[in-house]
Amino acid sequence: MALPIAALAWRSTQKGGANFWDVISSPEAVAALKLTLAMAALAALTNAVLGTVTAWVLVRDDFRGKSILNAVIDLPFALPTIVAGLVLLALYGIKTPLKVDAGGVHFKADITFTRWAIFMALLFVTLPFVIRTVQPVLHELDREMEEAAASLGAGSFTTFRRIVLPNILPGILSGLTMAFARACGEVGSVVLITGNLPFKTEVASVFVLQRSASDPIGAAAVSVVLLTISFAVLLVIGGLRRWATRHERA
């Protein structure tokens, strides 16, 4: 594991630091990296919000088929990413059944070759992260605190914001960070649906994939940027873990 990474870092600067900088500051690479970071952040944030709601429903709500719902959440982890891409193409591809063409309204849920495709694919693959980090914390959370808050006259929103949220925040943030890292590196699910148009829908990982044969040194330079992002994310997660357990360690 260490050897390949060392080889990657070493060879990325093989043509000199100037060349390394030229590659990663080239307009196409910059566009791809910016797009990756923006889309990953957007998807991770969306899933942080909707994931928290989902975790809440899974822990606090009660209805028939909840255990099935709970199992379905893991599907994006189990499903190969390339299949995830195809699954989305089936409903939101060129042959989408979701179209309206009547009364002057033209709508077709065809998202191929648009940034919506990246967003949807990233939402799909990062769906479980926040749910799976928040769910156990919510499960352990003492409901007496909430009842106390409620009996002291706090509304349900206030109770959530002042009591529940501070408790599950570390979970949300570490899930969010993992989702962000995953989204930054995602290939399989985006490669088919986005069309990989440079400056428009080409993300950094696909940039690396497409150049891996023709321009390996250039691909290596962008890879090093992605590698740096991964290390940063791991550091953040380590920090979050320490922050979350600060009361237990003190």
Partner: protein
């Protein structure tokens, strides 16, 4: 009303992002079942599935052993740099698979550090060893991540008791440690298997994607889509086989999980 709002949001979201698309893919496969079945039973598709299964059959046991060893080192070991090791095990989770793939090319490729290997008859790149290495890399963390918290939780009192009673290190491991972490190990193995079967990015770079030789099932899906010429049923068909495998994995996870929590 208030009670049903969160539930409604969740159902709608899962329908839009997950279940709707999945059902549509299944529908599209059965719409042109002949073409889909033809693609699944094609010789090279079967070879691709065979390769994927062989790679998984090698990678899963290797990473299970390594995962347990890493977890033991991280929790019980007394080695310097434990924190670093812990972070390192997690790296593949945060790293793009294409970066993993490219790293392997940098090491074993024509200008790589180990470029002399093919001269000695060892072909790594564009051959099955590279696929195995890439798969091992990306699926490394799962067993270790499941076992580490369980090991922390059970503590080492029982192990010390076994040791006091004269058990050797091996005996303690087989008789005391392993039985108490077995559900975590099984859960980790399930996750590892899912990852091995579904790996795309890393394998796409190192395998060379040679039809019937170094093409794995996921690469086959990509090929079937690229050469679809408007009929996506073949790609959907092969995908569906992979999806069924994923659902089997998911089902195993469901069976394992409650027991893990019960102990």
């Amino acid at each position: 009303m208030r009670k049903y709002l969160p539930r409604g949001i969740v159902f709608l979201y899962l329908l839009v992002i997950l279940l709707g698309p999945l059902v549509m893919m299944i529908y599209r496969t059965f719409e042109d079942l002949g073409a889909a079945w033809g693609a699944i039973t094609e010789h090279n598709t079967l070879l691709a599935f065979k390769l994927t299964l062989i790679v998984a059959a090698i990678s899963v046991p290797v990473n299970t052993v390594f995962g347990i060893v890493f977890a033991l080192l991280i929790v019980r070991g007394n080695v310097p740099g434990k924190g670093l090791l812990n972070a390192f095990v997690d790296l593949p989770l945060a790293l793009s698979p294409v970066v993993v793939g490219l790293s392997i090319v940098m090491l074993y490729g024509t200008d790589g550090w180990f470029h002399w290997l093919p001269d000695h008859g060892v072909q790594v790149l564009f051959s099955w060893p590279a696929i195995v290495i890439a798969t091992l890399f990306v699926s490394l963390p799962f067993v270790a991540r499941e076992v580490v918290p369980t090991l922390r939780e059970i503590g080492d009192e029982q192990e010390q008791a076994a040791h006091t009673l004269g058990a050797s290190g091996w005996q303690t491991f087989w008789r005391v440690t392993l039985p108490s972490i077995r559900w975590a190990v099984i859960y980790g193995v399930v996750l590892t298997t899912a990852r091995c079967l579904g790996e795309f990015g890393a394998v796409a770079i190192v395998s060379g994607n040679i039809d019937g030789k170094t093409q794995t099932a996921t690469l086959r899906v990509e090929d079937a889509y690229q050469f679809a010429y408007g009929n996506y049923a073949p790609a959907y068909g092969i995908s569906l086989v992979l999806a069924v495998m994923a659902i089997i994995v998911l089902f195993t996870m469901m069976l394992v999980k409650p027991r893990e929590e019960a102990t």
